[in-house]
């Protein structure tokens, strides 16, 4: 992935199985997840069903269960799993030397120019 990376801090800020949020002024709030097998993912913090805050769901494997109506959303692709249909945008993320980076243009590029 080519582009500029936005440093959002050390991995230790998010406990495994948890998620934290990153509001974007004038854009969509982003949720960053830390799975129990120590992977990190970022999604727009809005369930494709009825905009539930995915950051507040239970994380298992690389899936989060939405807190509002239990849809299962893939953290890797943002797609709803099983019989549910819908998709939430993912934000390219990388971990380097213990810090989390998000692809800058995916974070801020979402805004109206």
């Amino acid at each position: 992935m080519i582009g500029e990376w936005l440093d959002v801090g050390p991995v230790g800020q998010i406990a495994p199985g948890d998620a934290r949020t990153l509001p974007v002024r004038g854009g969509e709030e982003i949720a960053i997840f830390h799975t129990l097998d120590n992977r990190f993912y970022a999604l727009v913090n809005k369930c494709p069903h009825k905009q539930g805050p995915l950051s507040q769901g239970i994380v298992h494997g690389s899936v989060v269960t939405c807190p509002l109506h239990n849809w299962n959303i893939s953290l890797k692709t943002g797609e709803a799993l099983g019989d549910d249909k819908g998709c939430v945008p993912t934000i390219p993320l990388k971990v380097d030397a213990g810090r989390i980076y998000l692809l800058r243009e995916a974070v801020v590029g979402r805004q109206v120019a």
Binding site: L6, V8, G9, G12, Q13, I14, A15, P16, G17, D18, R20, T21, L22, P23, V24, R25, G26, G27, I30, I32, T35, L36, D37, N38, R39, K50, Q51, G52, P53, Q56, G57, I58, V59, H60, G61, S62, V63, T65, P67, L68, N70, N72, S74, L75, K76, T77, E79, L81, D96, A97, G98, V107, V108, Q111
Partner: protein
């Protein structure tokens, strides 16, 4: 310290140095540097006059074997790769113990610490990595050591010779191998690891848990989630380690194994392209065509490696380029990890993060302490984690690297190579069919295949029936898969689905799981999953909360609640609303309030912008539209006015509704309000299988609606009628009369006992109404009343567990606990960022 030692042997070769040969200078006498030289010599032994500089005062040895040297399993001589004769035979000049301090690209020379200047035509940088020293106070005290070379090992051995305690900072591969060695050498060892699971980059939660349990069994103290604040000293030497949470551990030696960093200093100063590592192309050439780099100090296609396997491949590509031999270049490596701790078999490779289109195949054998997980995507193996039995690690790794199609062996893949390659036996059922009748299937209960088949033929057509009739797979459950195969083989499609299992991750029912948690003394979620052969690595949104509750109920005061296994409402102690804000409901004991409380609620509503203030159906007040960032503050304000959480969000005691009762009402027979308050004070804070509601009405007119509550009291002239198992809701169920008692105290005792019975017996998410429908009122009555000791002992267990539960969760959050749950990570303000750039 160490005098430079030089084996100057260039003259011994017929051609001599210089002139004919190009001069190759190697910086780093380690694993990659020397291997690169070997590879070059193998292709063309007369092209270069070679000089190798090594910072360490010794010949080339196998660094990874330092762990067995520390553990006493090997001597230094055993781990030498190339002794002095190798340098001599190949006319290599070794300058050991005199590190290179500078590279001058203009004059093409390197300069050493001792002042030796060496010209080169080609330079190879192979400086490896440097241990990362965490920047805490005390890091420079005597007795703080790293684990990288033989000198470090010698320091550790000297310390171990005096006994005492060691603290190892870092629970990765290196740290655990150091801990193991020091522990074998007789030290008391504590491992402090920042992350919640050991070796988190190589292992998933399940395997990390097993590893921790095994190391603890061996006497090491393993502290996960431990953040080092300071290394404590006494007289300039190490005395202990203090963590940020205040815990302290004594130490006579502290091993820093918190990570490594590519050693890029020389290259950076020389102006080469350096990011995390020295940037090289597919032939290991740096941004200067005369300079190559190899090993842990390089960054190839964005990746820095920390293991030896990639070095071999890098060295091959490098040698091809350096000798102008044909070759495709280096394309990056897939790595695998093994831990070199005797008696612990552990292997991991590839990607095991799960996800879509990705299938996890998990096999657990609790009796033998085995956990195996392979990850498959589109019929290719993409990852594997093995604990306890790593015999098939190499085979999986091979399948993974080659990207072979495994469709044909998919069913048997998890059983390993021997099984999967068995041709006709490639389906597990076929393997089971091939077993003889007297083969033992269930080790716990000694049940043979013949006996199970006979039981099935005699009418046990479901797993549960087999379990109850011949006990096969009824204990640890590790043979469940085999029994299921036998059912399928014996009955074909006539197998009956058993009672509902807890979720798709297990073949056990809620009842089985609860029984086994107690029977096998299981005390942590990963332990339950391992012992009961969960088929997923870390469960799902159904089983995690259930297990968390069962463990909390089984081991009060001992089990530490797992926040990651709780639904958001219970994690945030507030109810999530459809717009993502929260509602806040403070407790109003028995529906009573005071002007002061109402004033505090009104103030809080205004201060935090509650958009709706509503009296709930549970006789208290709900403030809607509170932002998650504001929750700790509003709770703090409510706490200050004497109010605590109403648990309106929990699978817990919700409300105790009351009516006015004898104090005011002309029909009241008893003090229903007072009793309601007393009951609420006794029961608040308890976690339950589902929400639990209580009401107390002062007379049979029943204004508090006690007969549609989980526990209802209807006061009468002669005492108290106790009703159970009612609810409003989707399917209204009126209560059953449980009993009648004469005194308030008896009413309280039966209430506590009934709640405890429900807590210990019901399935997670089963409210009292469906529970009683399932088990029958008679069961409940007999469990409570057939033995006169039952009520007191159940009540005592309830009160014991309440000791740990009756702490207001809001107060702790208001005081700052788990603040991260309520805060954003950061805020992105694009404009400000543009400026900052």
């Amino acid at each position: 310290m160490n005098a430079p030692m030089t084996f100057d042997t260039t003259g011994r070769d017929g051609k001599g140095a210089g002139g004919v040969r190009e001069r190759l200078v190697v910086i780093g006498n380690g694993m990659a540097g020397c291997r690169a030289v070997e590879e070059i010599l193998a292709r063309d032994c007369s092209r270069y006059a070679i000089t190798i500089f090594g910072a360490e005062p010794r010949v080339n040895y196998n660094r990874i074997m330092l762990s067995p040297v520390l553990a006493g399993e090997k001597q230094f001589d055993d781990i030498v790769i190339n002794g002095a004769d190798w340098y001599a035979d190949n006319a290599i000049t070794l300058v050991a113990g005199d590190p290179v301090m500078a590279i001058d690209r203009a004059t093409r020379t390197v300069t050493t610490r001792a002042g030796r200047i060496e010209p080169y035509d080609r330079l190879l940088i192979a400086t490896g990595s440097e241990p990362f020293i965490i920047p805490v106070p005390g890091k420079d005290l005597a007795g703080v050591v790293t684990f990288r070379d033989l000198d470090d090992v010698e320091k550790m051995l000297a310390a171990a010779g005096k006994g005492g305690s060691a603290v190892v900072i870092g629970g990765g591969l290196l740290g655990l191998e150091a801990a193991h060695g020091l522990s074998l050498r007789g030290m008391r060892v504590t491992v402090v690891h920042l992350m919640p699971t050991l070796m988190e980059r190589q292992l998933d939660e399940a395997a990390g848990y097993l590893l921790k349990a095994e190391l603890e069994r061996r006497g090491q103290t393993i502290v996960t989630g431990g953040d080092t604040a300071e290394i404590l000293g006494r007289d300039g030497a190490v005395a202990g380690v203090r963590l940020k949470d205040g815990r302290e551990f004594p130490a006579d030696i502290v091993v820093m194994a918190a990570g490594i960093r590519p050693a890029t200093g020389l290259a950076r100063t020389a102006g080469l392209d350096v990011e995390r590592g020295i940037v090289v192309d597919d032939h290991m050439v740096t941004s200067d065509p005369a300079i190559m780099a190899v090993g842990e100090c390089v960054q190839h296609r964005g990746i820095c490696y920390g293991l030896v396997a990639p070095l071999w491949e890098m060295c091959r590509a490098l040698a091809e380029a350096a000798t102008d031999a044909p070759g495709g270049g280096y394309e990056g490596s897939v790595t695998s990890t093994k831990l070199k701790v005797s008696g612990i078999d552990l292997f991991s490779a590839g990607d095991f993060s799960g996800g879509d289109g990705v299938e996890d195949i998990v096999m657990r054998d609790a009796a033998r302490g085995i956990y195996k997980r392979v990850v498959v995507r589109e019929n290719r193996l993409i990852g594997a984690v093995l604990y306890g039995d790593t015999a098939d690690g190499g085979w999986y790794f091979d399948l993974l690297k080659k990207g072979e199609d495994i469709a044909a062996i998919r069913e048997a893949l998890i059983f390993g190579q021997a099984f999967a390659s068995g041709g006709a036996l490639s389906h597990p059922n076929a393997a089971v069919a091939a077993l003889s009748d007297d083969a033992e299937i269930c080790g716990c209960n000694g049940v043979t295949k013949g006996r199970i088949v006979a039981t099935i033929q005699a009418g046990a057509h479901a797993l549960d029936a087999v379990r109850s009739q011949c006990k096969a797979s009824a204990s640890c459950g590790s043979c469940t898969g085999l029994v299921e195969s036998l059912l399928a083989l014996t009955l074909g499609s006539a197998v009956e689905a058993g009672p509902r299992t807890l979720c798709k991750c297990t073949s056990f029912t809620h009842g089985d799981v609860r029984r086994l948690i107690l029977g096998k003394q299981l005390k942590a979620i990963p332990q339950v999953m391992q012992e009961l052969h969960w088929s997923t690595p870390d469960g799902c949104a159904t089983c995690r909360p259930a297990l968390n509750y069962y463990l909390l109920c089984a081991w009060p005061g001992e089990y530490v609640d797992d926040q990651q296994s709780r639904f958001v409402n219970e994690r945030l102690h507030a109810n999530i609303q459809k717009d993502g804000t929260y509602s806040v409901v403070p407790r109003m004991w028995g529906g009573l309030t005071t002007p002061a409380e109402l004033r505090a609620i009104a103030d809080a509503a205004e201060k935090y912008g509650a958009r709706t203030v509503k009296v709930t159906g549970g006789q208290r007040i709900d403030l809607f539209g509170i932002r998650k960032e504001d929750l700790p503050a509003i709770w703090g304000d409510l706490n200050a006015a004497g109010m605590v959480s109403g648990h309106a969000y929990g699978k817990a005691l919700r409300t105790v509704k009351t009516c006015v009762g004898s104090e005011w009402c002309r029909f009241g027979t008893q003090d229903s309000t007072g009793l309601g308050v007393t009951i609420e004070r006794m029961t608040w804070g308890s976690w339950m299988p589902h929400k639990f509601k209580i009401a107390v009405s002062g007379c049979p007119r029943n204004c508090a609606e006690a007969t549609i509550k989980d526990f209802g009291v209807v006061c009468v002239d002669s005492g108290y009628e106790l009703h159970v198992g009612g609810n409003g809701g989707i399917k209204v169920r009126a209560t059953d009369l449980l009993c009648k008692v004469a005194t308030e105290q008896e009413a309280l005792d039966v209430c506590a006992a009934f709640i405890q019975l429900y807590r210990e017996d019901a399935w997670y998410l089963e409210r009292t109404a469906p529970w009683i429908e399932r088990v029958g009122l008679d069961y409940v009555k007999s469990a409570l009343f057939s033995d006169p000791d039952a009520v007191p002992s159940l009540a005592a267990r309830f009160h014991y567990s309440q000791q740990f539960m009756q702490e207001d969760p809001w107060a702790r959050r208001a005081a700052g606990e788990d603040a991260a749950l309520h805060q954003h990570l950061a805020e992105v303000r694009p404009l400000a960022l543009e400026v900052a750039r």
